[in-house]
Assembly symmetry: D2
Homo-oligomer: 409 residues x 4
Amino acid sequence: MDESDNENTSPTLGVGMVGYAFMGAAHSQGWRTAGRVFDLPLAPVMAAVCGRDPVAVRAAARQHGWAAAETDWRALVARDDVQLVDICTPGDSHAEIAIAALEAGKHVLCEKPLANTVAEAEAMVAAAHAARERGQLAMVGFNYRRVPALALARRMIAEGRIGALRHVRVTYLQDWLTDPGAPLVWRLQREHAGSGALGDLGAHAVDIAQHLAGEPLVGVSALTETFVKERPLPGGAGHGLAAAPDGGAARGLVTVDDAAVFTGRLASGALAAFEVTRVAAGRKNALRIELNGELGSLAFDLERLNELSFHDHTEDASVSGFRRILATEPGHPYLEAWWPPGHGLGYEHTFVHQVRDLVHAVAEGTEPAPSFEDGLQVQRVLAAVEESAEKNALYTAVPPVSPAVTALA
Amino acid sequence: MDESDNENTSPTLGVGMVGYAFMGAAHSQGWRTAGRVFDLPLAPVMAAVCGRDPVAVRAAARQHGWAAAETDWRALVARDDVQLVDICTPGDSHAEIAIAALEAGKHVLCEKPLANTVAEAEAMVAAAHAARERGQLAMVGFNYRRVPALALARRMIAEGRIGALRHVRVTYLQDWLTDPGAPLVWRLQREHAGSGALGDLGAHAVDIAQHLAGEPLVGVSALTETFVKERPLPGGAGHGLAAAPDGGAARGLVTVDDAAVFTGRLASGALAAFEVTRVAAGRKNALRIELNGELGSLAFDLERLNELSFHDHTEDASVSGFRRILATEPGHPYLEAWWPPGHGLGYEHTFVHQVRDLVHAVAEGTEPAPSFEDGLQVQRVLAAVEESAEKNALYTAVPPVSPAVTALA
Amino acid sequence: MDESDNENTSPTLGVGMVGYAFMGAAHSQGWRTAGRVFDLPLAPVMAAVCGRDPVAVRAAARQHGWAAAETDWRALVARDDVQLVDICTPGDSHAEIAIAALEAGKHVLCEKPLANTVAEAEAMVAAAHAARERGQLAMVGFNYRRVPALALARRMIAEGRIGALRHVRVTYLQDWLTDPGAPLVWRLQREHAGSGALGDLGAHAVDIAQHLAGEPLVGVSALTETFVKERPLPGGAGHGLAAAPDGGAARGLVTVDDAAVFTGRLASGALAAFEVTRVAAGRKNALRIELNGELGSLAFDLERLNELSFHDHTEDASVSGFRRILATEPGHPYLEAWWPPGHGLGYEHTFVHQVRDLVHAVAEGTEPAPSFEDGLQVQRVLAAVEESAEKNALYTAVPPVSPAVTALA
Amino acid sequence: MDESDNENTSPTLGVGMVGYAFMGAAHSQGWRTAGRVFDLPLAPVMAAVCGRDPVAVRAAARQHGWAAAETDWRALVARDDVQLVDICTPGDSHAEIAIAALEAGKHVLCEKPLANTVAEAEAMVAAAHAARERGQLAMVGFNYRRVPALALARRMIAEGRIGALRHVRVTYLQDWLTDPGAPLVWRLQREHAGSGALGDLGAHAVDIAQHLAGEPLVGVSALTETFVKERPLPGGAGHGLAAAPDGGAARGLVTVDDAAVFTGRLASGALAAFEVTRVAAGRKNALRIELNGELGSLAFDLERLNELSFHDHTEDASVSGFRRILATEPGHPYLEAWWPPGHGLGYEHTFVHQVRDLVHAVAEGTEPAPSFEDGLQVQRVLAAVEESAEKNALYTAVPPVSPAVTALA
């Protein structure tokens, strides 16, 4: 058979990605796979990846399947074969790259959290707002919205299946800092990471809570804690910390939180309770969410991501109870393209789904979600959490993200 | 065989119980059963039960196996055949009865919460303090300490198995007020119940958290909410609420909380997170507790009360994980006297265990736990929660319960 | 108040119990408690308990609350104050005692298995049949039918909620013989125990499967195994085994099965799969049952005895899944008399329920279930299992228990 | 940056795949992804895919990323750019294609079951044996061996962590034939599918049981059943069944089993129990496996594929119990290349792992597992199951797969 027949004649979408660590690997899997599984209106082309180390970025390009490698993100943004810039760098560089990419006429997908500060996030929203008028899209990467079980939860809530909301409770528990001997990596330094468990895990927790509830937090009260105040410096130099004269015994100050507990109110008056931590021994990635409404409840645990628990409170009490829905049915979100019932998906499928939805939005000119405004709103919640923690847990309002704010910025 | 041989010649402990509703039934089961299962140093004698309605209390005596019935608690307290008074009335009468019983030279077991106010609880502690010098004992009925799985948890924590504590999280979720049409029973009126979910469920949650942790809460921050502000009056009169002219449509104000979310710090610096509610659809009696320490974690759910989850963080990560310990082994607390492994116990066994431990304390002259001081301490936490809720969630210190306080009272 | 008012004027039912070990303790709890919790038409009176050792039986009477003690079961059966004989001895004495009691005009409750042989069971059925015409009742103690979750399962199946049955699978897994050093107790000797896991656990498994299905097994195919062929003799004499000259090292032959796996067909054509074992490390009392029908499925695990899992296959697949029904609602079987929702029951509550149902049957002259015929039917299944195991797993029919058979016996 | 730098200079392995339905999609994902995640010694090149329908196969090539499309499998086998043939067709064509490919000097990966008959499987083993001497490899696609939790289970068993094996129990439950109105697809016709649940699910169940146990089944006893004997013909023609004159009402005979229950013995004397069915309402893909040994137990459920349950019976009974190991740690099989702990994998990752291991075997000249001999052994077990089912469940020996057998074939 003539192999020249085997051409994909779909229009394409050239993608350039900045950063190629954990998130870069996950996003690459998304770009590489989405068009193989879903029927996309545009074929993503993995045009170039960017990183500062020329040898490492070339190796990353080869490994992950990017056609070219760049060492300067400005060069990547400037490439003609890049119509969308995917930002997978740490949070402190998001604003600069995203704004430049939008100003250069590119669509942008930016990893969460949108930025390390509210001010940066506001500037990004303003840039997105301006770009939108030119037909460019901007999306923030809260990938957990695209876990099928959580997308199903959102659909069920939107259908009214749990009724008026009473409670949202979210814990996001990890344990990789349980050992006091774990080293002082950059994630534990405020100047690089912005915050600790709060920004890393709390951003996910707040976004998914608001997304599922379909309404924002309007105020919060918080306590934060750093249980281990000093940690050993990692081996090797270059971490911006003075090494101890004797080498191995050198220790540095931890300047971010290990954990945060916070409560809040949603716009409807529902109560919210959050806990995020990296020192919950034995909990590996326990993003657990429960919503209780007047007509029912939903519960989810990211460690069992193919399952959604649902209690229908309108049923006869004698036969009701939390049911385990395996979110692998053809009628479930994203499942039209995957495997038969009971053949579960994994973590990185969320990135495939993210690409699917973003490519559809680009092709159809619709607004992708979560938007930069959504990302800003999460930042404002986190800022209110930090402010409350500094004010002895005083209940602190979360300013709304209005079109006016965006226009002003 | 001569049936006169069949006498129990153990010394006895005469018990008088005040109140015979839900708690009275459960306590009766405890008094009736403990000596049949455990080898007790004193044989409990169910001397008399007390209630205001003479017909009902006689029926209750017959049903539950009390030898006599009284309609005046003062008469019960005065009986010569009563050495221990067991108080199962609502919280607003605890102080008066307990103090009178102690002053009459009786031992006292008082249901939780110790009292509806801190002032009452302080007076009770003072009375207990004075009585103790005369050899009388006073105990408060936080029965969940005597769920074998939780007693095992306490033992493991005391042995150091989870190391320095980082987190305690407790939810106590019920759903019997989910329906806005549920009637305005006395439990929803502040003048009778003191508070809502907070006093009822929060008292248990706070006691078990502090008991397991082995240390007190030193401060809290709280939000409370009453989602359904008005409810239909229950059928019939006598609830102290004006009936609507048209009967069925009459509604009254709910004056207690439906739910409370609160955070706090323990003396060691560990963070605590609490949520108590009666509107969590589908959660029937979900007292869930998790403690994370530097060396391990423990988790429990009252809806599966024979199980304790334990993660040993000192093990090789490749084979570690939360294990489900069935707390039904002969070596587990209280299990020496029950059934073979895997043959689970139920809710009311906690009352049997409570009797066992209290009878041992009486016989041996040791201090029973939880003491009235423990009950007072819980009241102070709940008072601080209410104060914080009134002050916009401001972090509010919990005054310690010291011997000095007790002496002053 | 005049204490003479406090008399229970209900008619009574005098009970005599033979045997006072594990089952005797559990049955005592049932007799002692049922009338305190349920509203019974007859008040059980614990007249006398019987055992061979005069000192021990008197101690047992005192401990468990029996008014008198006997050392000869014939004397117990003959007592005027005994109207019902409760047989808690090992299986090899069931037939003799039960038949004598029935012939003496007593009602009989006999622990499972009904007998050690089919012939004995047939004789017991014949005696029960004759006694029934004189108004006496006979019941066999398959107590698991009275776990509320399983009674609920039976009710739901009878209502048609799972439709035409396709599969029943039952495992009953324990682990107390996992250690090859566990001693050769009488339960491991055929002459005393009849069989091993098969008679002990298999009897329960078969009864509950047939009871839930509402139909009998008509044929079986089986493999059995004794993994540890020799075990150390227990310390002390009197076990009927020759002691080794050197004491501790003495070993004897295990003459019963450690485990059995068997399959079968029910009358309707549904397939059945069974596994019973005492060497499943970590499984303490794992009686697990699942039934799959054309319209739904039910699942249960005795280690979580307050829960019933139900899948309703008639629901939309997008929201269906196994739901966890907490069998603690007021509308659930036996729950009208216990605690609020979510306050779980334990193992021994099944014996309280058994007494409740038996006392009602006696008072109302109705036929109690499970009957001796039911017990015989289970024995025939177990005999067919043993026969199949001897014939290289050949499918072996289970003879039905018909009125004719009963009449012949 | 010069994009010509971005070349992958690894040696390559040209792959041709026959069939592109469910398994083809899954295998494509494996070939496409393995080299992006793992560091492979050979870079797989997706040279060509083959199918009978020229339009459809070209679409499949485009979708799944194969460079060329073929409509004749012989042409695919003959291609110079194909060094390995991956067979994803139904079982009745496996033997012909695999033998031809091996004879053409290609490596072969063949989906399970190896063949529809023992005779075909024996011929394939003979061909593989001959090819091996020429340096070609042959592997059968029992992908569940490469679920990390199951690979971990195998590792733990090989390390002796559960000791001498006593029990293996496996259920593989699905529900897609529960509805009697489900159509008579080719999978329900013996001439196309060989058998029903037995060949489809039983092959997986038997392979994983033997693989984990590390030993073969030596005999089996079985019952099989077809609950729904007739089903409606699928819409449209071409299913090889006479259409009813009136169209919609046409029904045809189901000629394969809906379900099978079977027991067996492993070489060591351990007992095995199996159940496979497509009519277990609510069970979507419930491959559940438990192994009990003298020192511990392991349990797994494919519906929660990132988890392995382990009970260590050597621990103190007071703190022991089944622990849930999240098989997502860096030290777990295949996890060195994926995501952080707790970020679960999905079903299709097994195909990525299969490619990884096969490519290593090709590059290193080692024998891949499972071999064709392993596939033949499974066929012999399934044949013995069918034979036993025909002989009234009589225990039927499974002939061993010896080198001699292979040489003779």
